[in-house]
């Protein structure tokens, strides 16, 4: 299992750093204005948007290599949560593709989602 690459600064992500958490609820609304609610997910899952700018070639190459090793969104990995510092198991990249932008010489950027799953 590959490790999510750290930047040369030792950080996982850059500011601004969005974090999303939730547990989906389905709501059925009735004609009398009342509703019935039920959970459609067994527990809370988190997802992190990793926005990275001003990456050097080595940093962007590490991310690309990680994406390839994970086969996109296929494989799971342990993600070091930048908010808590805790390792979160069963994480995946949130999309089957990764867009990397070569902005200039040794200057690159990319953005990806990391999503937490149950297995």
């Amino acid at each position: 299992m590959a490790d999510f690459p750290f930047l040369s600064s030792g950080a996982i992500t850059q500011y601004p750093a969005p974090l999303t958490s939730g547990q989906a609820t389905q709501v059925i609304r009735f004609l009398d204005g009342s509703d019935q609610r039920f959970l459609v997910q067994g527990r809370v899952f988190r997802s992190w948007e990793i926005r990275l700018d001003l990456l050097n070639n080595q940093e962007i190459q590490q991310l690309e290599a990680f994406f390839v090793s994970e086969q996109g969104d296929y494989s799971s990995f342990v993600f070091p949560d930048p908010f808590t510092g805790n390792d979160v198991p069963n994480c995946r990249i949130g999309a089957p593709g990764l867009v990397t932008e070569y902005v200039g010489e040794d200057v690159n950027s990319t953005s990806l989602w990391v999503i937490e799953a149950n297995g």
Binding site: Y15, P18, L19, A24, T25, L31, F38, L39
Partner: protein, 234 residues
């Protein structure tokens, strides 16, 4: 819509909803944690909670002190149709015909420990004092002098108790008469413009988170932002 341009419509009299879009910026980690903990405690939109509309008057029937939600003894006499400070005739003359201080009050099921601002317009033909009261287990009273001119008087602050009932009241000394208008309670430190209410005040006991996911953005160390919606059926 039919091909001829006519429309077939059905009314949905119970489908009304109020939705608040709330945006927060420059939150500390402690403030953000409080929001996240509440979201998790409710499991997002699953459980209901009581929401106080930050843009409304919490009191019910603020424009009708004779409504049953207002508690008073029979010797606290009310006369409606008194000229109010906004050019109408919606004020009430309140006369304490009893032998001791009497009050007119309203009780709500909200946390007593929040910051509240109770405000109203008051006047009196003869100079007198009225007392604005905020109470739960503990009590805070503010005595104010009033005279022939309308004045907006306020009582603001937090009670240091954990009661889930909160009462506001206006007390008059025995034999005194005052004109009252625009009673308003808000969950903030100072009053905003008066918002008259009828059968519904700004407290919604069956509100839900309107989002399945709560997104927070770390802008800088210990500086966060978030936005979400809260909704309730009306």
């Amino acid at each position: 819509m039919l091909p001829d341009g006519s429309m077939v419509l059905y009314s949905d009299p119970y489908g009304g909803r109020l939705i608040w879009e709330l945006t927060y910026s420059d939150l500390s980690a402690v403030e953000l944690q409080a929001i996240q903990e509440h979201f998790e405690a409710c499991i997002g939109p699953f459980h209901a909670f009581t929401f106080i509309d930050p843009t409304d008057n919490m009191l019910v029937s603020s424009s009708d002190l004779t409504a049953s939600v207002w508690q008073r003894v029979s010797t606290m006499e009310l006369t409606s149709g008194v000229a109010d400070p906004q050019g109408g005739s919606s004020a009430f003359a309140v006369t304490n015909a009893g032998q001791a201080d009497q009050e007119i009050s309203q009780t709500m099921i909200v946390p007593a420990s929040y910051m509240y601002c109770f405000s109203l317009y008051a006047s009196s033909a003869e100079p007198t004092n009225i007392t604005l009261i905020r109470r739960a287990t503990s009590i805070q009273s503010t005595s104010v002098a009033i005279g022939p001119s309308w004045n907006r008087v306020i009582s603001s602050g937090q009670l240091s108790d954990t009661d889930s009932n909160f009462t506001i009241a206006v007390s008059l000394p025995a034999g005194q008469r005052a004109n009252l208008y625009g009673l308003q309670l808000e969950p903030q430190i100072a009053p905003s413009r008066y918002r008259p209410t009828a059968q519904v005040g700004g407290i919604y006991a069956n509100a839900h988170w309107g989002v399945n996911e709560l997104t927070v953005v770390a802008q800088r160390p210990n500086l966060f932002s978030t936005s979400f919606s809260i909704e309730t059926a009306i």
